[in-house]
């Protein structure tokens, strides 16, 4: 089951996969570094804009938006309950202290208004990364991504194993579908409210899938050995062409930007922590406080 790019001919699909992976890493670094709502919102907007211009089908974009919406709501939900920053305003009570069992476990559980806001802001980190990750992933075929990973020095053996795993996926899905049909015919249910029952069901369900798949691994490995294939030898690898100058420049620019921001943030943290202060950096501190 090799995943094909959904964006043939779009700008996204033409970008070097190595550059895509690096951009993803830069974005993930930013999602950890940024604190200001404006900065996080800007990052979120940029990531959504990237999705809109990625050339993905409308259905995929809608799916991404739904997933991002659910992530945002999930984070808001949990933070509304867990928020212990101050000040905080109770919207309503979920569990009272004298509620049997649950009250003993959780104590008083309220939904806080500020927690909802906090969750909404912090979820930008996840949703932006998820959106960008999916956009980049779906706009690149598996081979391209694998080559990109090899291009950033991933061991070849891992690449071999991942490609092998990819080859197993269609068979696994086919087997699982067959078992599901058999279960349906016999009137059996996979899901149960009892976790032990569900785990047992799951084990029974995957057993035939596993056994058949395992048999295939034996056949595949024999086939590979008979062709004298060795994933440890260097001649098995194919070199990627070097990145274009423009792509390289953008990658280095991104690196410099993220590294610079990290340095600025470290200076700000040192100031906040009372460890180091330099009056010449007051402008930097101000920018960090309000915009980064």
């Amino acid at each position: 089951m090799e995943k094909k790019s959904y964006t043939h001919g779009s700008v996204f699909s033409r970008i070097d996969p190595r550059a895509k992976i690096l951009v993803l890493l830069y974005a993930s670094t930013l999602s950890v570094l940024l604190d200001s709502f404006y900065a996080l919102a800007t990052m979120g907007i940029l990531c959504f804009t990237a999705v809109l211009f990625s050339g993905l089908p409308a259905k995929k974009i809608a799916w991404i938006c739904l997933a991002a919406g659910l992530v945002t709501w999930g984070t808001m939900f949990s933070q509304a309950i867990f928020y212990f920053g101050e000040p905080r305003t109770v919207l309503f009570n979920l569990v009272r202290l004298d509620t049997p069992v649950l009250g003993w476990i959780t104590g008083e559980m309220n939904v806080y208004r500020e927690g909802l806001y906090h969750g909404a802001i912090q979820s930008l980190r996840f949703s932006a990364m998820m959106v960008l990750g999916m956009a980049l992933c779906w706009s690149t075929d598996t081979r391209g991504l694998m080559q990109g990973l090899l291009g950033i020095r991933m061991p070849y053996i891992l690449s071999f194993m991942t490609v092998t795993a990819l080859r197993f996926l269609p068979g696994i899905i086919q087997e699982a579908e067959m078992v599901r049909r058999a279960w349906k015919v016999r009137g059996m249910a996979l899901f149960s409210l009892n976790p032990f029952r569900m785990a047992a069901n799951w084990v029974i369900f995957v057993r035939p899938v596993f056994i058949n798949g395992y048999r295939k691994t034996v056949i595949l490995s024999l086939s590979l050995q008979s062709r004298a294939f060795s994933p440890f030898s260097d001649h098995s690898r194919r070199d990627m062409p070097p990145m274009t100058k423009g792509t390289r420049f953008v990658c280095w620019l991104g690196f410099a930007g993220v590294f610079g921001l990290l340095a600025v943030k470290i200076m700000y943290w040192l100031y906040i922590g009372g460890i180091y202060y330099n009056s010449a950096l007051r402008g930097v501190y101000r920018v960090c406080r309000f915009y980064v």
């Binding site: 476990i105 795993a165 990819l166």
Partner: protein, 645 residues
């Protein structure tokens, strides 16, 4: 024709607008230059130099150099606009000083010559009620004559005071006479002060001889207001030295006011905390919040010389500033008290007790500051906050009371929250430990990776790939599809459902695989294959994966090695006891992995989690699901073993 007129009309409007803009720009430029076009005037005072600007001006810094070109004063300012600037300076008589005033863009140089000799004199401050300390370097106290208005609550007993500061190198004798009108009843006078009756009241007399430069003495007395009419109190200080005699007069017009009127005229505009000793908000802090960083940071700051270690009990930890607005036409003398209490009680926590020196005789453990509110303006009252050791994190109450001088009934009460926060040391420790483990794991992997897989047959690699694919299809795909929905529906309790996939099914499969290939590095390879598949198919590469993945792999491999599975390899017996031990060790490792994951979210994603949630996550996802997963895996692997054989 009509068109031409309209075009001409538009042109003229545009020209007019342009001209107006040009004039505005020129006016702005001109106004920007005014302040320094007129050189500021430098005045030498006792122990200080004062700069008077033409209009309020933003000064970036000031440097004063003496006749030997040595810098004797340098201070940076925050570019706050000010009309007068007073700088402490022990200047030498008859010397020329160069004063450089920097604006950030340019520097203005002022040359000033100090007086031939330091003028002898005295600064006298007289007040009833006496509501403030003598302002250092203040010119007010050196005036020969001055008249001030004060107010106090009717029928109250207030404290009056006269402070006298001696200037000059030679000694001088001072005679102090304070005339109090009939409407004031003397309640208390200090020892050594003589009281005599005059035509319409009393006279308090005292004498003093002051010899040391800047020596300070004071005379404090207590009086009760008996009347409703304004009262005029006078003080005369006669200074005698070898040169001659000088007379300094002070007049106080005291307006007794009903309590209700004082209450109506005072309004609390704003309360800031934490602020500097000058009342400026500490912008690096959150409002109403005191943050206590880790002790190691404070020590580091001390080593670097950027901060001192916790101060002694006598100096304020920080300040809070109260802005009081007075709408009265006369100055109002008030006493502002502040104390910090527990949120739900009226008790002052021991860690917020102010030192006795500052509490005086107040019974409620408050910090008290006396102030005179200028008429129809806002007065800034800066109050110290004392902390003698790091308080417990939480919410406290700041009770601010405003009393009219001489009255025990407050005219205003305000309760503001105080949030005390600390660094979550558990989260930081876990993150640091995770970082260390990840670095160690990464180094180990880089160094030993080839060794781990060198003698692994291709068949094993293919089987591991297969398990990677199964774990991806059985765990990552359903989680990716349903995780958001589960989180949205179940919120914090979603871990109990996602843990089923993440831990129970995952460990079942891992144990099954280890039963087939009991070797070190197998778990690592499955994990990496699953991670890469997930990244490529679902888009999930993240920089923090290095941290969480490293910790997870190191702990799992260590647990498997300790349990004997990857240590004894094929010699490992899958007895009940050995499986239980494996379940416990893997459970402990997974508990640590779950805790790390939660704390990484706390640190890097700024999320909050309740203790019970962390406990549930560790208990269920760590021990319960993992334990069940290990036993299910053993049972499940029996079939696979049969197929293998």
């Amino acid at each position: 024709m009509w068109c031409t007129d309209r075009v001409m009309g538009r042109v003229s409007i545009h020209m007019g607008l342009l001209l107006f803009c040009a004039l505005v720009v020129m006016a702005c430029a001109a106004s920007g230059r005014d302040a320094l076009e007129h050189s500021p005037r430098a005045t030498f005072m006792h122990g200080a130099v004062r700069l008077d600007f033409f209009r309020p001006f933003a000064v970036a810094w000031v440097r004063i150099t003496d006749k030997y070109d040595r810098t004797v004063f340098f201070q940076k300012y925050g570019k706050f606009e000010q009309k007068h600037l007073q700088m402490p300076l022990a200047w030498e008589p008859d010397a020329t000083y160069r004063i450089d005033i920097g604006t950030g863009k340019r520097t203005v140089v002022v040359s000033a010559r100090s007086p031939k000799a330091e003028t002898a004199g005295a600064a006298v401050h007289f007040g009833i009620p006496y509501a403030g300390r003598e302002q250092p370097f203040s010119l007010e106290g050196e005036r020969r004559h001055s008249e001030n208005d004060y107010s106090a609550a009717m029928g109250s007993t207030v404290t009056g005071g006269l402070t006298l500061r001696h200037y000059g190198a030679k000694p001088a004798a001072y005679q102090v006479d304070i005339d109090l009108p009939e409407g004031l009843e003397i309640v208390e006078v200090p020892a050594g002060m003589q009281v005599s009756e005059t035509g319409g009241g009393h006279r308090l007399g005292a004498s003093a001889r002051l010899a040391a430069p800047n020596q300070l003495t004071y005379f404090v007395f207590r009086v009760r207001l008996k009347t409703k009419t304004p009262l005029c109190c006078k003080a005369r200080v006669i200074r005698r030295d070898a040169i001659g005699e000088a007379c300094i007069d002070r007049t106080v017009n005291l307006f007794p006011m009903p309590l209700a009127e004082i209450r109506e005229n005072v309004e609390m505009k704003r309360v800031f905390m934490p602020t500097s000793a000058k009342g400026l908000f500490d912008t690096k802090s959150r409002p109403d919040t005191l943050y206590f960083g880790p002790r190691i940071f404070r020590k580091l700051a001390h080593v670097l010389g950027t901060a001192s270690l916790p101060k002694n009990n006598w100096s304020p930890f920080t300040h809070q500033t109260v802005h009081l607005r007075s709408t009265a036409k006369t100055p109002l003398s008030v006493l502002v008290t502040a104390r910090i209490t527990f949120r739900d009680s009226d008790q002052v926590p021991p860690r917020f007790l102010p030192p006795d020196h500052f509490t005086g005789k107040l019974k409620d453990k408050s910090v008290a500051i006396a102030a005179t509110l200028a008429p129809q303006s806002v007065t800034r009252i800066i109050m110290p906050v004392f902390i003698n050791s790091t308080p417990q994190p939480g919410v406290y109450g700041r009770h601010i009371h405003v009393y009219p001088m001489g009255n025990s009934l407050p005219i205003m009460r305000e309760v503001r929250p105080l949030y005390v926060t600390r660094t979550d040391t558990t989260a930081v420790s876990v993150t640091l430990a995770s970082f260390t483990l990840s670095i160690g794991g990464l180094v180990f992997l880089v160094v030993k990776f080839r060794g781990l897989i060198a003698d692994m047959p291709v068949r094993h690699l293919v089987v591991i790939s297969f398990f990677g694919a199964v774990t991806f299809a059985g765990i990552n795909v359903p989680l990716r599809i349903f995780n958001s929905l589960i989180c949205a529906l179940f919120g914090p309790f979603s871990i109990l459902i996602t843990g089923f996939f993440n831990d129970l099914i995952y460990f079942s499969m891992i144990i099954a695989l280890l039963r087939l290939i009991p070797r070190p590095g197998v778990v690592t390879l499955v994990f990496l294959v699953r991670y890469l598949l997930s990244g490529m198919m679902l888009g999930g590469f993240h920089v923090l994966d290095l941290l969480s993945m490293g910790t997870s792999l190191v702990l799992k491999e260590a647990a498997l090695y300790a349990s004997g599975i990857t240590r004894k390899k094929d010699a490992f017996e899958w007895s009940f006891f050995n499986t239980l031990l494996t379940a416990l060790l893997l459970g402990a490792a997974d508990a640590a992995i779950n805790a790390t994951s939660v704390y990484l979210h706390v640190i890097f994603y700024r999320l909050y989690f309740a203790d019970w949630y962390i406990f549930l996550s560790i208990l269920f996802n760590g021990f319960v699901y993992t334990g069940i997963g290990v036993f299910f895996g053993r049972r499940f692997s029996n079939t696979l073993k049969m197929v293998q054989e």
